[in-house]
Amino acid sequence: MARARDESSPLFAGNAAGTLRLIFYLALAMVLMVLDHRNGWLWRLRYGAAVVVEPVYRLAGLPAVGVRTLSVAFADRQRLTEQNQRLREDLLLANAKLNRMAAVAEQNQRLKELLDTQHSLELNVQLARVIGMDLGAYRYRLTLNVGARDGVKPGQPVIDAHGVMGQVKEVLPTTSVVMLVTDPAHAIPVEIERSGLRTVAYGSRDGDQLTLPNIPLAADVRVGDHLLTSGLGGRFPPGFPVGEIRSVAPASTGMFMVAQAQPAADIDRSEDVLLLHDQAEPDGPPVPVKSMGPPSDLAPVTGEAQTVPASASSAPSGKPSARPAPPGVQP
């Protein structure tokens, strides 16, 4: 049997048919890749094949669950007690803060009503568990155990207790894939908490950091500054912590400063995450203000005509983060 086959696979020369077959398959693969890259077929196919794919995901997540269970089972009493104690203290602290915050939140709500904006401080969230699974592509993805059946939609922000983790990228019936903020293909509009400077934080290719490549040279950015979501772009609601600046240096081009930031969220360690549902209001760039008054060609002085729309446009767009109300609004 083996002898008969030896003639079909000689020691040194290959046969042309094999090469042709290889070329055929390679071409097929390339066509598939291009089509998929253009049209995103894969996810439709995956959605169709979810019956097969999802059990495999759960199966692949089992070792991680097992390790977690074991670590709980074998954790000694001492450590559990300590952990419990620490959690209690944290809870107490959080509750105390919450109580203090409640009054502030109420006040904020009232002021905002006065300002006639609809930003609310309440969160409409959904708890999700991370399925421990390796999605290969440079490990910037997470899989969650909720999907289309639980009302998850692509684009929903994902946060954990410390900050923004990413956004839902693809949804299967009972699982969904999250793109992390550290993904090099991800960008999130942020503002620096201390100075209010708005910029964009990109994922960095070597893994666990954020890069802010275009900070103006004159801007006031220091190591230790906190980044918050700015709410521009409409995908992430404003005011969530994103990260903390770790280093600032001039870019090699000399035109900007580049900052590296550490994500606020526990990207590697989170097991439970929150999906934000409340993204009803499109919070993108403010609606262009209709020019009020006479048409501009009738305006006598150009300088005055420009200042009026500028001040009018800044008021309704409203800084998303909580700022004291402008004095003029008080009745």
Binding site: S9, L28, D36, L42, A60, D134, L135
Partner: protein, 161 residues
């Protein structure tokens, strides 16, 4: 008949297991050390039972891996096809190499595989991966003798083809 069926199931089982272990996560520190399991198992089978492993099978396994992995459809199909083609072409020689030479050959194949992957990813517009990304082929090659001996031993014990 029964033994044949068992051996077929063993063959399919190892391939499915390879796909599954591709998905199993490792702790963050070990992540770059994860070998590309489907390639290793396919290599083993293409050396050991040539009549089962064809380019078509490699293509199908690759498509399955793509489906599970969520990368571009056809990427792993392409890589595994190229890998299996080279392995089948040099099969008669690879089989009779001493183990260390075989390991070196596997290393070359896996490095070639990573290179293909890099080309595909760069063409698709992804950024260059970090240096630790290149560790995986070496781990795969280092595991190869053990994997080979283990699978051979199991096969001998189960007395299947």
């Amino acid at each position: 008949m029964n033994r044949q069926r068992l051996s077929l199931w063993w063959f399919i089982g190892t391939l499915l297991f390879a796909l599954l272990s591709m998905l199993v996560p490792l702790p963050g520190v070990l992540e770059p050390f994860k070998p590309y399991w489907p390639a290793l198992i396919l290599l083993y089978w293409s050396l050991e039972s040539e009549d089962r492993v064809t380019l078509g099978l490699a293509f199908v396994i690759g498509l399955g891996a793509d489906l599970l992995n969520g990368v571009v459809l056809g990427e792993q199909a392409l890589r595994l096809c190229a890998l299996v083609f080279i392995a089948l072409r040099f099969r008669s020689r690879l089989r009779f190499f001493p183990m260390w030479q075989q390991t070196l050959a596997v290393l070359a194949l896996l490095l070639n595989d990573r290179l293909l992957l890099l080309i595909v990813r760069v063409l698709a517009g992804a950024s260059l991966p970090p240096a630790s990304w290149w560790i995986s082929p070496f781990v795969g090659a280092a595991l190869w003798p053990f994997l080979f001996l283990l699978l051979d031993d199991l096969r001998a014990r189960l007395r299947i083809q």
